[in-house]
């Protein structure tokens, strides 16, 4: 009996000891896990802070990107505007060059034939028409006489009575005729004036001394442009003055 009791006690002791060791190991393990959890939680907090910072950074970058996009769009818009302005300035320069060349050429000679040739050259090369007539008012101021022409039959236009047809009316009124703005003006072209694109009065001191008739434009020329109106304006006064001076010189030389 005593031996059984002793064995039981020993067994109980062993179980207790085993249990105590097991519990001790569990506690140690638990402590380790608790430390591990604490480390992870610390790491989690740190990472969350980092995520927060990265989010802020991302927001900031997104804001900057949006700002850069706006700036880029603005610069592109400005670039486009400058580009258009450049083309405009280039066009303006080209127009000025046209006017300069026309004016320079008209006043570079006092030779009547050269003046007439220059007027033709301006109309052919700068305005773009190979059908033209240059008229001068005759003494007595009742008719125009064709003094130079290109691409038209001179006989059909040799003399035009003042006030007759579009050309005669231009010489009478001193107002430029433009085909594209003549609708409803009441002016009736004669048969010979069918293809008249423009007729410019030549004026010296506001007095009409003749007219330039421009008929069909060149095939590749799509209507009159701004610079053409400037050239008409220039021809009206400068061509008239050049012709007048050359005629006066002929008179003086005689």
């Amino acid at each position: 009996m005593n031996k059984d009791a002793a064995d039981r006690d020993t067994y109980v002791q062993r179980v207790r000891e085993g249990t105590r060791q097991y519990i001790q190991e569990l506690l140690t393990e638990n402590e380790k896990l608790r430390l591990f959890v604490a480390t992870i939680e610390g790491e989690k907090v740190r990472l969350e802070e980092q995520v927060g910072l990265l989010r802020e950074e991302l927001d900031s970058h997104q804001y900057q990107a949006a700002q850069l996009q706006d700036q880029l769009a603005h610069i592109e818009e400005e670039n486009q505007r400058f580009s258009e302005k450049y083309v405009e300035v280039e066009q303006h320069n080209a127009n000025l060059a046209n006017l300069y060349v026309a004016s320079y050429r008209l006043h570079s000679t006092l030779n009547r034939q050269e003046v007439l040739d220059t007027i033709q050259e301006i109309i052919i090369n700068l305005i773009g028409s190979e059908e033209l007539g240059i008229f001068e008012l005759q003494p007595g101021h009742t008719s125009l006489e064709l003094v130079s022409s290109f691409g038209i039959e001179p006989e059909r236009y040799r003399h035009i009575a003042l006030g007759s047809g579009l050309i005669g009316k231009v010489a009478q009124s001193g107002e430029t005729y433009l085909e594209e703005s003549s609708n409803g003006s009441g002016n009736v072209p004669t048969v010979d004036e069918d293809h008249l694109t423009s007729c410019i009065p030549l004026k010296v001191d506001g007095r009409v001394t003749g007219a330039i008739a421009i008929f069909r434009l060149l095939q590749q020329k799509n209507g009159l442009q701004e610079v053409d109106y400037e050239l008409f304006h220039l021809l009206a006064t400068h061509a008239a003055t050049a012709l007048y001076c050359s005629r006066v010189l002929v008179g003086v030389n005689l």
């Binding site: 580009s83 450049y86 083309v87 280039e90 320069n93 080209a94 060059a97 046209n98 300069y100 060349v101 026309a102 320079y104 050429r105 220059t118 050259e121 301006i122 052919i124 090369n125 700068l126 305005i127 773009g128 190979e130 060149l218 095939q219 590749q220 020329k221």
Partner: protein, 139 residues
């Protein structure tokens, strides 16, 4: 680098002056001739880098002058651009058949002329990216 020389051929002084004004935006030296015959003689003597040739001229027209220059060994490599009032397809074709390398119709569009002159002088490639904007603007 030597300045490129361009021979301007036209019987109209107004046209020559206009071409000079447009091309003065580049750095070129100019030679002039008032008809096809003079153009051929000048081209043989001076060997310009490029020729701008009118078609309708006295003594010898631009097409004949172009043909003669393309037949000669010493001038056949000179690029010739026709500058003329004759813009219709038939005339353009005649121009190319005579040996010209390009065509500009009158009244001259300054950007078009400058761009074609630069192209045939090989300046657009030389300027590289820098000139691409100008090309685009010129169309």
């Amino acid at each position: 680098m030597a300045r490129k020389r361009i021979l301007l051929v036209d019987d109209a002084k107004t046209s020559i002056m206009m071409e000079q004004m447009i091309l003065s935006r580049g750095t070129y030296d100019f030679l002039t001739a008032k008809d096809g015959l003079e153009a051929v003689e000048t081209a043989i003597r001076e060997r310009p880098d490029l020729i701008l040739m009118d078609i309708m001229m006295p003594k010898m027209d631009g097409l004949e002058a172009c043909r003669q220059l393309k037949e000669r060994d010493e001038t056949k490599q000179i690029p010739i651009i026709m500058v003329t009032t004759r813009g219709e397809a038939e005339s353009v074709e005649k121009g190319f058949k005579s040996g010209c390398c390009d065509y500009v119709a009158k009244p001259i569009n300054s950007n078009e002329l400058l761009s074609k002159v630069r192209k045939h002088l090989g300046e657009l490639e030389q300027y590289g990216k820098g000139s691409s904007d100008e090309q685009r603007r010129s169309g």
